[in-house]
Symmetry: C2
Subunit: 335 residues, 2 copies
DNA sequence: CTGTTAGCGCTTTCAA
DNA sequence: TTGAAAGCGCTAACAG
């Protein structure tokens, strides 16, 4: 049998209520009793039974984390963020419960059963475009939740992200500083919101340098279309000398596509990517990239959710985290 | 107030005990009552309160997953495996609780409090060399656990892995088939067990082809030493024409180091890596690699743990999963 | 400041 | 095949 609050109370010669109060840091307990009880607790390695606690308090002290959808969107970013979440959660006495699902049905049903079953008090999820309906569901259901990323359709939900507009602005500006005039931008079919934010940043940065954005160079890449896109460009009279790419994976594909056409990075074309990973550092050429600290995304998301759970007043629904630009080998100055 | 077993019982005109039995699939319930109750449960979307369940049954229906240590060893492999774990766990009505810790202290204390606090019934962990003491602790504590990977110091624990010996044998054999005679092997300071298994596979494969292993070419790489190693080699009269590298990250570093010496992959040197990731596919040159399905590692580990928890007799402590070799651009035949 | 006590929602004997 | 009732270990009024 494991050690219970009752046993501790007996040892301390108090009632279980007193022990309970000590555990929950109730202020109206004499220093004397408190220290006595704490000593006994430590001595015996007592750990409160979270189920009893949860049952009585109607709180699970679990927060759920919904992983991005299968394979494709599972990346190091999410893992690091999860670490941040765990760390923050632990700090506040919360555990982290992991959820996934192969279909939306599956996901919704997972969330519902965990929430109704009182297994989790709130949820953190990562943005991918197919989460739209999940978010609608969450909004309706009243489950407290925080999004890592941003969603245009649901602009007012609690979210943690970095400033995608500014990030794209910075990337563009950086290239302009290197004398690039012909700058293209490639982004994926997903991430509608991020896409449009980045697009605006890109366009405004160009305009502020008196460069007119070329609409042919703002391209949405369908899966595995990099070859075609690059092929089209190479035939255009004035081809881009620099490309801003949505993510590391796509950036690598673009490098490969360029290589097939005997174009070298950064000699012929410079590339800036949006990184979620340290991978960009290892490849050749290593990738100049806009990066942000995934761990702190998770940390801050958890922090926000915990505030929500505790009913603390939250200043703002959105928390913007800093980003930076890591200059590596894939970019060069042109004359 | 959420729906409880009591409410369902009232609606069904039975006692809560009966409802409970239906839920837990007790055999001695008339088909009539069973179907009636099930209907009501479904109709009302009733979800049992897991805390009450846990409290009464002394089972949490949670399995813990201890993530690999910070940053360095966090990779896509673990994330995919975690998905496999979740999937299997869900299948059996279990949830997945995530654990980490920044220090061993931290980890041990997390495990203990979760286990004692009845938050988890068992644990799955990933192998990294600094987990040795954690494993010793787990062995002592009696917590049911399964290792993903393998540990030499604790050979008899429950574990899921692929055959590292055979994998290295295959990699070596593959290179020999491509006429390589001078084959080196690079592995990290970590993963003692894996290392020695792979080493044996490498050596025996060479010997079976009547090639005498050159001890200078079996090298343990300290962190960020790739440059030096490659530098040493290049000065040796007969340099390796092929290198087997422990993981994708190191492989990329080796490619970079070689490039500094004007050696191209695969023209001058072929490389085979042990992959944990799809990254090897995207880089240039893409990496020929031994790969295994991370998802199923997680799935099988969870399956084993669940058997342990249910007290099912387990045939073997170790489960060996298949691996394969993906031939890509980093290897070529020599004449 | 501390003790008493009534639950929280479920499982599990023990009886019927 | 079903029901009654005693907990599981803790929280949170309420009372002192």
């Amino acid at each position: 049998m494991s050690i219970t609050i009752k046993y501790i109370a007996e040892l301390a010669g108090t009632s279980i209520a007193t022990v309970s109060r000590v555990i929950s840091n109730d202020s109206r307990i004499s220093e004397r009793t408190r220290s006595k009880i704490i000593k006994i607790i430590v001595q015996h390695g007592y750990q409160p039974n979270l189920f009893a606690k949860g049952l009585a308090s109607k709180l699970s002290y679990n927060i759920g984390v919904l992983l991005p959808n299968p394979a494709k969107n599972v990346n190091i970013h999410s893992l690091k963020a999860v670490r941040g979440i765990i760390s923050q959660a632990k700090h506040h006495g919360y555990n982290v419960l992991l959820l996934t699902g192969n279909s939306e049905q599956d996901v919704l049903q997972s969330i519902e059963s965990r929430y109704k079953g009182r297994s989790m008090d709130g949820l953190i999820l990562f943005y991918t475009s197919d989460r739209d309906d999940v978010i609608s569901y969450l909004n309706l259901s009243g489950i407290p939740f925080v999004l890592i990323g941003r969603n245009m359709k649901h602009a007012d939900i609690h979210a943690v992200d970095y400033d995608q507009f500014q990030a794209a602005w910075d990337a563009t500006h950086f290239l302009v500083q290197l004398n690039h005039q012909n700058i293209a931008i490639l982004h994926g079919p997903e991430h509608v919101t991020i896409q449009s934010d980045r697009m605006k940043g890109y366009q405004l940065a160009l305009q502020s340098s008196r460069i007119e954005p070329n609409p042919d160079w703002c391209i949405v890449v369908e899966k595995d279309e990099e070859d075609i896109i690059v092929w089209t460009w190479i035939n255009s009279p004035e081809r881009p000398t620099a490309i801003i790419v949505q993510d590391d994976d796509t950036a690598l594909k673009v490098v490969r596509a360029l290589a097939k056409l005997k174009l070298k990075v950064p000699d012929d074309v410079s590339i800036v990517s949006f990184s979620q990973d340290t991978m960009g550092e290892l490849v050749s050429p290593s990738l100049t990239a806009v990066h942000t600290d995934s761990y702190s995304h998770g940390y801050e998301a958890a922090s926000m959710l915990l505030q929500l759970l505790k009913g603390t007043r939250i200043e703002s629904n959105r928390k913007i985290l800093p980003h930076g630009i890591k200059v590596r080998e894939s970019t060069r100055r042109i004359d």
